[in-house]
């Protein structure tokens, strides 16, 4: 087989396998009740749609603002800090208000999530600020 036809065969095999797995997942889902499926459809669609229509445009807006408003030396530290804080916030979100807390179980969700999150964010911000100062100074040296 030539390289091209081998690749075509591989792509076809992948596509068939993928559609098979998709179909199996769909069959499993259809075995759930109608009420469950409505909720599944909502949680399946909303995050994807909101990420394209709200989150990513908002990130583009923030990026545009950073480019226009920040001094050149501060841009990279700001970008890095915002990505790190964003990632941490996404993971922290369901823990911050501890909606899953159960009064009878003190061994579950028993950390001070708000304080820990605030410390992490503060460390990132301080590190980014120091980095920005160092970068700006390095730029001034001729």
């Amino acid at each position: 087989m030539t390289g091209r036809s081998a690749e075509t065969a591989l792509r076809a095999a992948l596509a068939i396998t993928g559609v098979g797995a998709l179909g199996f997942g769909a069959v499993l889902l259809l075995g759930r009740g109608f009420g469950e499926l409505v909720s599944v459809a909502l949680w399946f669609t909303l995050p994807a749609v909101l990420s394209d229509l709200v989150l990513l445009p908002a990130v583009a807006g923030v990026g545009w603002l950073l480019t226009k408003r920040l001094s050149p030396g501060a841009r990279l530290p700001a970008q890095v800090a915002l990505v790190m804080i964003g990632a941490l916030t996404a993971v922290a979100a369901p823990f911050l208000g501890t909606p899953g807390l159960r009064v009878d179980n003190p061994t579950l969700l028993n950390r001070n999530y708000l304080a820990g999150y605030a410390v992490f964010v503060a460390v990132i911000l301080v590190a980014a600020a120091l980095w920005a100062v160092l970068r700006t100074r390095a730029r001034r040296v001729p």
Binding site: L22, F24, G63, N105
Partner: protein, 406 residues
């Protein structure tokens, strides 16, 4: 008409209006060099590997809990499930920043104009919706399950499992579609690949080079993924407890071990402390023996160090003492067979199955003590199952009955 008078004035005004008329963004409106298939392919490979790990470990956890006839899960090494389920949760958490960065890298393509250019393009975009929808669904529901937060109207385990097949299927289709793009992106140099593959000289001229390089973005994606893992992994690796500010637990609990389901929520506070409690063991020919707690204590006692490994990812090792399950089954003539364990509690997790392999393992105990003191009621007093290499949900607490398989 007065066209001859106004013509010269109106035209530039009109052109300006057309240029500034609101319209949806186009891919070429995103000037950053970071939007490129060179970046997307590389972040995509990391994300694809993370999803593959999640899928395989999740599938094995599903099969352990709902074993079909052909499936055999070994009883050792004792730490195997602890590792596979810890990997499942941690790679899932690492996937959250990777997915967001990957989507950001390809986000200009969402605004393709016209929205659908051909049947193949339409199918491709449809499969993208399934992939992105399923990916968000799995990562959000998985994360919320770790936080024990269920703001939806479906039962988490079977639906998370079903959508995992949709996610992995859509991912494999996506790889099939993009294989030539991936190969081209990986064969070129990371920094010199064109911006979001648009063959438009005008757009290329507007390309913006910020201080973050493509290599820098990849490092940042890795750093963000690592940070989220470090922030959450302390409930699996005790050495990292202090920095894991978002871990599900701090590792404390009665007898130094956390609890997933308390005696109070299981509704067994009265039945588990009833002096009339007996453990009934039923053998193959309906041979039936009942044991009081002191009778169980008079049988040979064995001590084993085994972890509790929860499906939610947390795990912790502990030292258990009790009667070997194999010894107990032998008393009713059930040696060499599996058994059904029934708890005093009712509901979803009241019953678990022990395969013949696990029942015969010398480390599988009907535990009476934890860390050399009688089990706390939240750990399953008076007697619980503890076996090697099993999800915590199958380590049945507050045992009332053991029935040997026919």
């Amino acid at each position: 008409m007065t066209a001859d008078v106004s013509k010269g004035r109106r035209r530039p005004w009109r052109t300006a209006l057309v240029e500034q008329a609101p319209r949806p963004p186009r891919p070429t409106d995103y000037p950053s060099r970071l939007h490129s298939s060179a970046v997307a392919a590389r972040v995509g490979i990391a994300l694809g590997l993370a999803f593959a790990v999640c899928f395989v470990t999740g599938l094995s956890s599903h099969l352990i809990q709902h074993p079909p006839g052909w499936f055999v899960w070994p009883s050792g090494p004792v730490w195997l499930y602890r590792v596979t389920q810890g990997l499942h949760v941690s790679t899932g958490i690492a996937s959250i920043p990777l997915l967001l960065i990957k989507l950001w890298a390809v986000s200009p393509r969402f605004w393709q104009w016209p929205p659908v250019t051909s049947v193949v393009n339409g199918l491709e975009r449809g499969s993208m919706f399934l992939l992105v929808g399923a990916a968000f669904f799995e990562l959000i529901t998985g994360l919320f399950n770790v936080a024990e937060f269920y703001p939806w109207g479906f039962f988490f385990p079977p639906v998370h499992y079903a959508v995992a097949w949709v996610a992995i299927g859509a991912l494999v289709v996506h790889i099939a579609v993009k294989l030539p793009v991936i190969r081209a992106a990986l064969s070129g140099s990371l920094e010199s690949e064109p911006v979001h593959d648009v063959d438009d000289p005008a757009a290329s001229a507007r390309t913006f080079t910020g201080p973050l390089t493509r290599r820098g973005l990849l490092a940042l994606a890795g750093g963000a993924a690592l940070t989220t893992v470090l922030a959450t992994v302390g409930d699996k690796i005790p050495a990292l407890r202090r920095i894991s500010i978002l871990a599900q637990r701090d590792g404390s609990g009665p007898q130094g071990l956390p609890v997933n389901n308390t005696a109070h929520s299981a509704g067994v506070l009265a039945s588990a402390t009833d002096p009339a409690w007996r453990l009934t063991v039923v053998g193959p020919q309906q041979t039936r023996r009942s044991f009081s707690l002191s009778e169980l204590r008079s049988l040979p006692q064995v001590t084993a160090t085994l972890p509790i490994s929860c499906v939610e990812g947390w795990s912790q090792s502990a030292t258990w003492t009790g009667v070997r399950l194999g010894d107990l089954l032998a008393i009713v003539g059930g040696d060499g067979r599996g058994a059904t364990m029934t708890s005093l509690e009712t509901g979803l997790y009241a019953v678990s199955e022990v395969s013949a392999t696990v029942a015969a393992d010398p480390l599988t105990l009907i535990a009476l003590d934890l860390e050399s003191t009688p089990l706390d009621i939240d750990h399953g007093y008076p007697a619980r199952l503890i076996g090697p290499n099993r999800p915590g949900v199958l380590q049945t607490k507050w045992l009332s009955r053991i029935e040997v398989h026919e």
